[in-house]
Symmetry: C2
Subunit: 275 residues, 2 copies
Amino acid sequence: MSAQRLGLIEPIMIGPRAKIEAIAHDRGIGLAKASFVETSEAPLEAAAAAVELCRNGKADLIMKGSLHTDALLGAVLARDGGLRTGRRTSHAFVFDLPSYPKPLLTADCVVNISPGLTDKRDITQNTIDLAHMLGIERAYVGILSAVETINPAIPGTIDATALSKMAQRGQITGAIVDGPLAIDIAISIKAARIKGVESPIAERPDILVVPNLEAGNILYKQLVYLAKAECAGIVLGTTVPIILTSRADSEKCRVASCALAVLQSRHRSPMKALA
Amino acid sequence: MSAQRLGLIEPIMIGPRAKIEAIAHDRGIGLAKASFVETSEAPLEAAAAAVELCRNGKADLIMKGSLHTDALLGAVLARDGGLRTGRRTSHAFVFDLPSYPKPLLTADCVVNISPGLTDKRDITQNTIDLAHMLGIERAYVGILSAVETINPAIPGTIDATALSKMAQRGQITGAIVDGPLAIDIAISIKAARIKGVESPIAERPDILVVPNLEAGNILYKQLVYLAKAECAGIVLGTTVPIILTSRADSEKCRVASCALAVLQSRHRSPMKALA
């Protein structure tokens, strides 16, 4: 409803109406400007209803409410009747960091557990496309691992090498991609110089791609909890943007995620019209 | 030499003496209080000399200089003539964080790439022993992963479960161990409450154990670069403490690591005398 007051969205509440209204009443939140699609309390039913609204063009984006991510993504990623595209589905955050002079995007810290190289290509391209939409014309992309040398014992270093070469060969477009990079070299030119690492990414990444979910989860939560970042998050590679907020997210984060999804949705519609 | 001036150590410089003296002269560092063990420029020779000094009781700890970690650890971990103990060798950091009210230890962010469960048991116990030495009598240990539920697709969640149970069964001692925990729940009771996770670790970990090197590298570098942490680092599970500083580390970090190694060394010697 905060995003509605800002004119960002027209909310459709999907779920058991009486229960939603009772919760809103308890919190002093007015729902006069919201419409409703009534379902049972079963999360899968609400998720399926949201996907159906998007498929019929009656909704432009989905925001996760009080149901598990798995339930929502299950409906979104269904082979029949879901919201898939040809691309691997991935998540991206956009961070506003007090200690960094521009927006910093990270992927994939939420959806893909142990992505393979082909998945990482899509994760990287999805995030580059999002950066373009945000006005970052030529994105600097750092592929993170634990070290900047190639070590077959550390699988992330091999994937990073392949992704860098893919960008050179045009299999990833619209960005300068380099890796493997440890995060200190990605964000600090001083660290890169001391270690003698030449990278076009050092101290100016627009995007950091993480090796796997466990690393990514630590990365983004540290940015929020220790580096006092504000963030917006969005699911990419689906036919409509999906906002996967976490229960512990702030209102600011949720509203920012709405803004990001709306931007993504508006950017996509003219493309569809041309197709 | 800064650590020497503080009375922490008596330095023995190991390597090509003329080159070391030339570098010190260029930087205006006096070496009058240092002794020398001359070797060639070959890193393996210097590493072997350091290990030999420790085996003969002529040195109490090793600090890495300008050679690769692999070269030093190769000599330290040699099956014959190294400094191994029955325990898996692991690394621990001690962080001083502006945003956290007590020291925070992390392991293993440096040495073990993809440790298995038995390795993780040793990593955890090594770090608990270090915490005891620092006066933390009953350490709260959080085993990190990307989520707090058990998911066979995320291997870190399974290891975390086993480590928690090992602490209950006395296979890990001297600590309260719980996992899997995502880092937000480990460091924020508010996040734990919102997500309905009951954990004795929430908001008060003394130790965070990471799932693998790629996650750990991101964790500790973010603490240093984004959360402005000061840290000391040390290798555990060897017969003498080993300081593995990184080239980009600050002087403060190097001196703090010396202090930690000296403390560890003094703590260990009386035990030896009793044995």
